[in-house]
Amino acid sequence: MGGSLAGPIPTDQHDFALWEKRVDALMVICSGKGHFTVDGLRRVLEDMGPEAFETMSYYERWVASINQNLIEAGVYSTAELAARMSEVAARGATYGDAADG
């Protein structure tokens, strides 16, 4: 990647987690609503630098980029995001688990 040796490419298919599918859908919605384009997504991914590509998964990088683009577009503020994140965290670590498996 980026001209560096990356070793063998894993070619086996894998399932996506629900949150990953939601991140993908979020990008479709954001561009559909005209908040930003795939170019903005790519710009922030590139600006993250090589370390992000070693420490974050594909959709972790996407959601970080989507978030920055939405803040830049004025869709919500950093303060609103902070309040909402605290609100979600207060639900507890098991909030997202299904009640009956």
């Binding site: 170019d39 903005g40 790519r42 830049e72 577009a73």
Partner: protein, 93 residues
């Protein structure tokens, strides 16, 4: 008449779609694709005024040198006009 071009060798920071490995290289216009929104502006939330896009063809020897395995093979890349300089004829190999 072949339209020879050289890709600008500029290395600005920021979002650019012109591949680094083609910057400074010489190729020819395979076809004109018409105007497309400029990704360099769209990436920063600007309107991305449509700008001419061209498909440029390069030989492998131009990109990687004459020692490359298949020097006469070619690669096409779609590059915006503002990254291209018209030249009279390709430089000597």
């Amino acid at each position: 008449m072949v339209e020879w071009v050289r890709v600008r060798a500029d290395m600005p920071p920021g979002h650019v779609r012109t591949p680094v490995y083609l910057r400074g290289k010489t190729g020819w216009v395979e076809r004109h694709l018409g105007p497309f929104p400029n990704p360099e502006a769209l990436a920063y939330g600007h309107d991305g005024t449509p700008t001419p896009l061209m498909r440029i063809r390069f030989t492998m020897s131009e990109i990687w040198g004459t020692d490359t395995a298949h020097p006469d093979d070619t690669v096409d890349a779609e590059i915006y006009a503002h990254w291209l300089e018209n030249i009279e004829q390709p430089h000597a190999p």
